[in-house]
């Protein structure tokens, strides 16, 4: 403060404010240049459809959410039947092949196995306890529709058809033609509201909504709710994910 006074006394107030103005506008200008440079740097490069720095941020946010917020006791809100709306048939990736429901099989590769050991039929899925839930189906685009689904819990399915696979880090699922595929973290896969669904709004799934069996995972955006599952694999590494390869967050949790 004393030195400040001294330097001030050497200059008139007009000179002093001119000096301060020059100095601080130079700092402001340098800041603007740095911000523009940072913005360019931030938006450069590509890691599966999104700049690498932003990919790192998505991974960081995922780790924060998983270590602080996520719990399988946190349930997505459920709704009365009267709230049900009309769910769009938003994506048909992997659905263009004609698969007759009676020919359909679900190929399961348990944790540690190298090839599918079992090919399950719908009768196997229906042998599991049936759960019915009306949830708000949320698209990554921002819209949502209250929809009723019924099916088996993925946690029950895992315990019965791939026992011990709960130890895996991840679950990967693909359509029969492998054109659409999702990767899930194990906690979300074992969430009590995560269903292998065969009914929607009181009727069997239509082809457009993924007959005969689709995933319903209310703790994820719609992009993870894969239609017409052909295979399930329990892995230690992150399975590839269709929309994560196209710039979206691999975790995509809600």
């Amino acid at each position: 403060m004393a030195t400040e006074e001294k330097s001030k006394s050497a200059l008139t107030p007009e000179q002093e404010i001119a000096r301060r103005t020059r100095r601080s506008f130079m700092v402001l200008g340098a800041g603007a240049v740095a911000a523009a440079g940072g913005w360019t740097l931030l938006n450069s490069g590509d890691d599966a459809g999104v700049p690498p720095s932003l990919r790192k941020v998505l991974r960081f946010n995922e780790s924060v959410v998983r270590s602080t917020l996520y719990s399988n006791d946190h349930l997505a809100r459920t709704y009365p039947a009267s709230a049900v709306g009309d769910l769009k048939e938003n994506g048909d990736f992997g659905l263009d092949d004609d698969v007759e429901n009676e020919d359909w099989r679900l190929h399961v590769t348990a944790f540690g196995a190298t090839s599918p050991a079992t090919a399950l039929t719908m009768a196997d899925i229906r042998s599991l306890p049936r759960y019915d839930q009306t949830i708000d189906f949320k698209c990554v685009e921002g819209w949502s529709v209250v929809t009723q689904f019924a099916g088996a819990r993925l946690s029950d399915f895992t315990a019965k058809f791939a026992p011990g696979s709960e130890k895996a880090e991840c679950v990967g699922m693909k359509t029969p033609n492998a054109e659409y595929y999702v990767g899930l973290d194990m906690p979300s896969a074992l969430h009590p509201q995560t269903l292998l669904a065969y009914e929607m709004n009181g009727a069997p799934l239509t082809d457009e909504h993924g007959a005969p069996l689709r995933l319903v995972i209310p703790v994820k955006y719609g992009i993870k709710n894969i239609k017409r599952i052909g295979s399930i694999e329990y892995t230690d590494t992150r399975p590839k994910d269709y929309w994560a390869e196209r710039g979206y967050d691999w975790y995509a949790g809600l």
């Binding site: 001030k8 008139t12 107030p13 007009e14 002093e16 404010i17 301060r20 103005t21 100095r23 601080s24 506008f25 402001l28 800041g31 911000a35 913005w39 931030l42 938006n43 459809g49 999104v50 700049p51 720095s53 932003l54 990919r55 941020v57 998505l58 946010n61 959410v65 917020l69 996520y70 719990s71 946190h74 349930l75 997505a76 809100r77 708000d136 949320k138 698209c139 990554v140 685009e141 921002g142 819209w143 949502s144 209310p218 703790v219 929309w243 196209r246 710039g247 979206y248 967050d249 949790g253 809600l254």
Partner: protein, 286 residues
């Protein structure tokens, strides 16, 4: 105040306008210069004209911390609004209208065409979830700084601010309404500068309610549900844009010294020399 005798004002000592206002209370008629920041409108300009024994001094207007918070927030909020638009584009249902009559749809095709916004949802999400951290940290730091430094006293609305803000607004719109006496910030500024901070907090909360509606289901419920949270988040952003337009208009109106003070922190002020002070004191005898 003990400093009443002339001897208490040593020659060469400088006094700020704020100090002078406290002891010379004439001229509170409200005809003072009014600016986006603040002005010496408690000080009688006529008295200044009558007597030229005034000196020009530097007066600190904005602390370094306040200026940094402000100028960091500006580009960060811009990045939040830009990336928010990239996200909103993917589902853009909001409009001004009643029933089937739409006065304005957010946003018309020409808007997307001019801005080039579209088909960048994933980029928008990546950017939004990065800048949200910086926006939140800068905002929290500002609130804590304001509380600790005591500057909240000059920023929070007082009971009288609500009525006075209307007077300020009418005056600023050119109506012949006298300005109420003000401190560092006038009533309208107190309301808007506090309101914008509250809005920032609400943006964070509604944003979290949209971001993790399952994990933070209580927060989403508090916002009225997922869809309402998104609606609120959108209109808060429109609120920032409204604030921005008025803010810029007021800054332009207030002029260069006011803008400069937000960058360098200082402005020039004219203050009375000690003899004048003593005279003013004696006349008042309070």
């Amino acid at each position: 105040m003990a400093a009443r005798e002339a001897g208490q004002f040593p020659a060469g000592q400088r006094y700020t306008v704020d100090f002078l206002k406290r002891i010379c209370k004439e001229g509170n008629s409200g005809d003072g210069v009014h600016s986006e920041q603040h002005s010496a409108n408690g000080w009688n300009k006529d008295a200044r004209k009558r007597d030229n024994r005034f000196v020009t001094v530097l007066e600190e207007k904005h602390k370094l911390a306040t200026r940094w918070f402000h100028w960091i927030n500006f580009p960060i909020l811009s990045a939040m609004i830009f990336s928010g638009l990239l996200i909103y584009w993917a589902y853009d249902p909001y409009r001004i209208g009643v029933g089937s009559v739409t006065l304005f749809h957010f946003f018309p095709d020409w808007f997307y065409k001019i801005t080039g916004i579209g088909e960048m949802l994933s980029l928008g999400m990546g950017l939004h979830f990065l800048f949200a951290w910086i926006f939140a940290i800068n905002g929290f730091a500002y609130v804590i700084y304001t509380l600790v430094s005591g500057e909240w006293r000059e920023l929070l609305p007082e009971r009288k601010s609500f009525g006075e803000a209307i007077q300020v607004a009418m005056h600023d719109m050119g109506l012949k309404v006298p300005l109420p006496p003000q401190g560092r910030y006038n009533a309208a500024q107190r309301l808007s500068y506090s309101g914008i901070v509250v809005m920032g907090g609400l943006s964070l909360l509604t944003g979290l309610a949209i971001y993790k509606p399952a994990q933070l289901h209580w927060l989403t419920a508090l916002a009225g549900g997922y869809e309402w949270a998104r609606w609120e988040h959108f209109w808060l952003t429109m609120g920032y844009l409204g604030f921005f337009v008025i803010h810029i208009a007021q800054v332009v109106r207030a002029g260069w010294p006011n803008f400069r003070s937000m960058v360098c922190g200082y402005d020039l002020a004219e203050v009375a020399e000690p003899s004048e002070l003593a005279q003013a004191e004696a006349n008042h005898g309070d």
